[in-house]
Assembly symmetry: C2
Homo-oligomer: 146 residues x 2
DNA sequence: CATAAAACCTACAAACTAAGTAGGGTATGC
DNA sequence: GCATACCCTACTTAGTTTGTAGGTTTTATG
């Protein structure tokens, strides 16, 4: 299951994507809008910044903002960053590979093969879905254009 | 990631499947063969028994044995039993459904839809793979038939 | 029937991870 | 130069996973 941290990250990113015209947005604004603890969200946004997904501005009028287009931010990237490996076993993880303690030979391990399939099927979805797929298409703002 | 409990369960089931001709097998035999703590494995086998996958015999000459054909035991069943939900969110779980705390409307939630896809892709693998796919096809025993 | 073997069951302990909190440091705008 | 708001480190709390302890019940066998 996805951790709260991961879910909070998606909520925050969605908020930022839907409010890009505002420029820098306060942590507090996101936190109260999405019902997330201010300090906990602070840590999450910092991680997203260090990963090159968000930019920030300090001092009065500061806040966080997207530095990539929503369609360039894959769900896989966010999940890996905040939730950890997508694979079910360390020995089939593309980004967090580790040799299995008990497994003698990966090449002949039947489990290994199947877990690769699971990983690839999952990636087929989350590598091809982006933040833009999470944005609600019918916000008030969009209607105002007409 | 799969828990140790889940991995141990697969190891134990594989052992039992590869040694069906032995009849009842001692916990201790499986534990030492697969390097699992006896008492921990005891709990796992008990769960598998309660789920109707294993049978047991008490007393001298007792032990555990499969009561289903390996090809009838899907990986999904084992994973759900010992690892919990396969889905990434409670609101898309088929066997452990729970309403999302924060989600207002599942029908219009974009996350919901994507997570359903992830779940279905995963299930496409693990509902169609069974214990028989984990059994090594080249054991000594098999060669002895010729 | 006595004994030993082996599963059954409940409860607990230790280790690890996730979630959240505290408090001060640093850059920025006015 | 002061208020603002992000930055950073460390800590606490809560929950889960992993493993252990110790006794109970059932069964084969001499």
């Amino acid at each position: 299951m996805l951790s709260k941290k991961t879910k909070y990250a998606f909520h925050a990113l969605t908020y930022l994507a839907e409010n890009q015209e505002k420029g820098a947005v306060l942590i507090q604004e996101i936190a109260s809008s999405k019902n997330i603890s201010h300090k906990f969200l602070e840590n999450i946004l910092l991680e997203l910044k260090k990963a090159g997904i968000l930019g920030s501005k300090k001092g009065k009028g500061g806040g966080y903002y997207l530095i990539k287009k929503p369609e360039e931010i894959t769900l896989a990237k966010i999940i890996r960053l905040l939730n950890g490996p997508i694979a079910w076993l360390p020995c089939v993880s593309l980004n967090y590979y580790e040799k299995c303690a008990d497994c003698v030979d990966e090449a002949t391990c039947n489990m290994h093969l199947i877990m690769c399939q699971v990983r690839d099927q999952t990636l087929a979805v989350v590598e091809n879905k982006t933040l833009s797929d999470l944005i609600s298409k019918t916000t008030d703002k969009q209607y105002l254009k007409y």
